[in-house]
Symmetry: C2
Subunit: 441 residues, 2 copies
């Protein structure tokens, strides 16, 4: 590649990456100028990009111009302080720096030997986070359990579902797959149903039990108990219960301790999904929402949602890491090495779906260190205060009421840049829309 | 977060990220000074990092010092020009810049509406790459098929296996799962076996057919035909064939066209895994290795191996995208939107295991544009020449012979920084080891 950009020349990297830093910093400076939701029409890009890759190199300036003119209009700005949709997906300076360093080293950490630091930092940092969340010691890496970074909560629930599936099938025989039953509330994230589809659990054996507003959409232990008893009497095999702390649609919190007892007495795997709300549990005053987690077999929270860690970084802890390994390990000749063979190390390839994995613990480590626990707690509290401010605004307008469930307006505070003025402005938009709507009735 | 690093302040990001750029550029300047393989002992990090996260913020300088002193010694340097293990995992300036931009925007592109540019750029860039590889038009996004970026080849083979599984089960009934049979050669990547485990295919129905050196470890159509006939006569249902172009251990190339005929006549899904060697097929003189791909149902190559695109970026093309969607879609209330409901757009969440996904097409787009086709072809040719140089060195020493299979020394050229001198130096090490070994006999 004479004369142009070389594949990996340190000085060319320096020069170009500095320009990219400025481009990204400028983006954040002007992020409020963009409409949060992209306004383009389906297929908008097809007509404005060439049909094929260029034969000859183009410049970084060409790329920047195209990003400005063609890509940014098609971006929905998740980092805008005016983003209140879905759930937060936090970027932060620390998370971004961690992503940079991870991409810079560009190692593939499937086995310990392929970069011991990647495996060991992940173990360390997930221990830190477990302690911060006051998870039971069984989830720490020093014992039989441990933490692992998955890409998403979908993968987290999938791998534990597979571990639970294979554990029960080892006991009852592999032809019993069609008898296995999974339980959760109807507020549970669709990732559970998808995990069942993938793992070959029959769709009609995935029980999404009805909830209602009288108990804030939480899964009722009585309803669960009845469903399990009914299934057992029909010769089916209950094996997996997924509880959620902070469901996506209704922010319902399932009663962990009561559910855990039912799961335990039926020999079922108990998974707790706190993907969204889990971050709040680093504050003592919110920790009670996961009381009962000590009885869970696995626990998940997404650091990439509301914990300032760039996507993707989904933290999963299990009490019995061997259950994961028994379900997900492979041991081909070309991956064999002394440390693995001697069982002296963790090989995270056996805790996850893919073989390859990025050095994702760097960004979580940097978030924890560059902010520190107290600032992270402040960050969560500030967002909760902003949500309360919004609730107060709603309460003053008799045309609205605050509730969950039914057809509702979801308003999710959690973008790093969000301040009170953004919440207030969003409320003004909602009021105007309401006026238009009610005026037209 | 008064006084310290704020979550996302544009000027603080600029200041800190510039420092990170310099840190990474300096790493590449000195990369040859590190031993390629990390020399640490298992557990090395536990004693040298604190037991818990800090209460108060630390500085980026603290982090850099720790990375230098504690992390880098535990890194196996995949980007070192002296790295010849496993397979290449290419970082490049373009790929790195793409990772930066992706982390900077930090969108979550599960549905089209969550950032139309993420979906549409991915479609466009995978069309570009398909054309560059001269894949059949059926794999382009304009028809019934299309391309998608998976994290790894493991996920690529898993999603097509699931699509094939559910397609056949819709025909023969879902209770036939235990009768389904998968075929591949014994040189096939272990990811296939893992996909079978995940998807509930019975392990004894995963046929890894024997190969040998007489046909360079390629899968024999005769052996395959016999195995299929035998299984059918036993009431089993062949449904999936995985061929490989460039197996990891032996670089075997399966005869695609002959295998495709057998798959087709038995109504089986035919997947071609060219994860490693696929990149070479952008050069006309190597394209013949994937002749027959026009008969495949799906095709995979990893841009993150040997195509200068930072990990992870595994390109998968399918001819029937509906087969993927039927197997992997979910449609919860909170993800509903006009464009998806009207079927006007691709929602990549339905083509993959996780829900969330990063804006990975940016880095592939930047690699293709910042280098251009001709330079990428030169890059591949240069590595192949270096491998030939190594072959020449081996041929001159009667103590070694060049072969594949048995217990062998694998020597994989493909790191971006590798030059002839690194190959020659590696050969010198091997010769010295041989002398020591033979001298001690």
């Amino acid at each position: 590649m004479d004369g142009g950009l070389r594949p990996m020349d340190a000085e060319q990297l320096r020069e170009h990456a500095h320009k990219m830093v400025d481009f990204i910093a400028d983006y954040y400076k002007s992020i409020e100028n963009f409409p949060v939701l992209s306004q383009v029409e389906p297929g908008y890009l097809r007509g404005i990009l060439p049909d094929s890759a260029p034969n000859h190199p183009e410049s970084l300036e060409d790329i920047f111009n195209d990003v400005r003119a063609k890509i940014l209009p098609g971006v929905t700005h998740w980092q805008s302080p005016n983003f209140f949709a879905y759930y937060p997906s936090n970027s932060s300076i620390a998370g971004f720096l961690g992503e940079m360093l991870s991409a810079g080293l560009n190692i593939v950490g499937f086995s310990w030997i392929t970069s011991p630091a990647a495996t060991e930092l992940e173990m360390t940092v997930l221990d830190w986070l477990a302690k911060l969340l006051k998870l039971p010691d069984d989830f720490l890496s020093a014992g039989e359990g441990g933490g692992v970074i998955q890409g998403t909560a979908s993968e987290a629930v999938l791998v534990v579902l597979l571990a639970a599936r294979d554990k029960i099938l080892r006991r009852v025989g592999k032809n019993a797959l069609e008898k296995l039953v999974v339980y959760a509330s109807d507020q549970t994230h669709s990732a559970l149903q998808k995990a069942c589809q993938i793992g070959g659990i029959h769709p009609e054996n995935c029980r999404l039990l009805k909830t209602d507003s009288s108990i804030n959409y939480a899964l009722s232990p009585d309803v669960l108990g009845e469903a399990i008893a009914h299934d057992i009497s029909n010769g089916l095999i209950p094996f997996f219960l997924c509880a959620t702390v902070g469901t996506t649609s209704s922010t319902a919190v399932d009663p962990l301790l009561l559910l855990a007892k039912i799961a335990k007495s039926n020999g079922m795997w108990f998974h707790v999904d706190a993907a969204y709300a889990g971050s709040a549990c680093i504050c003592p005053e919110y920790r009670h929402h996961i009381d009962g987690v000590e009885e869970a077999d696995s626990f998940n929270m997404n650091a990439h949602k509301w914990f300032l860690t760039n996507f993707d970084c989904s933290a999963l802890w299990v009490k019995d890491r061997n259950a994961l390994v028994q379900s997900l390990s492979t041991n081909p000749e070309f991956l064999k090495n002394k440390a693995s063979q001697a069982n002296m190390v963790v090989d995270y390839k056996d805790w996850q779906i893919p073989l390859g994995r990025r050095f994702r613990s760097l960004k979580l480590w940097m978030v924890l260190r560059l902010y520190g626990i107290e600032n992270l707690q402040c960050y969560i509290r500030n967002h909760i205060n902003l949500a309360k401010h919004f609730e107060g605004l709603v309460a003053q307008d008799p045309r609205f009421e605050v509730l969950s469930g039914k057809y509702i307006l979801r308003f999710a505070v959690g973008a790093p840049l969000t301040e009170e003025r953004h919440v207030t402005a969003a409320w003004k938009v909602l009021q105007e829309e309401a006026s238009t709507l009610l005026g037209s009735l």
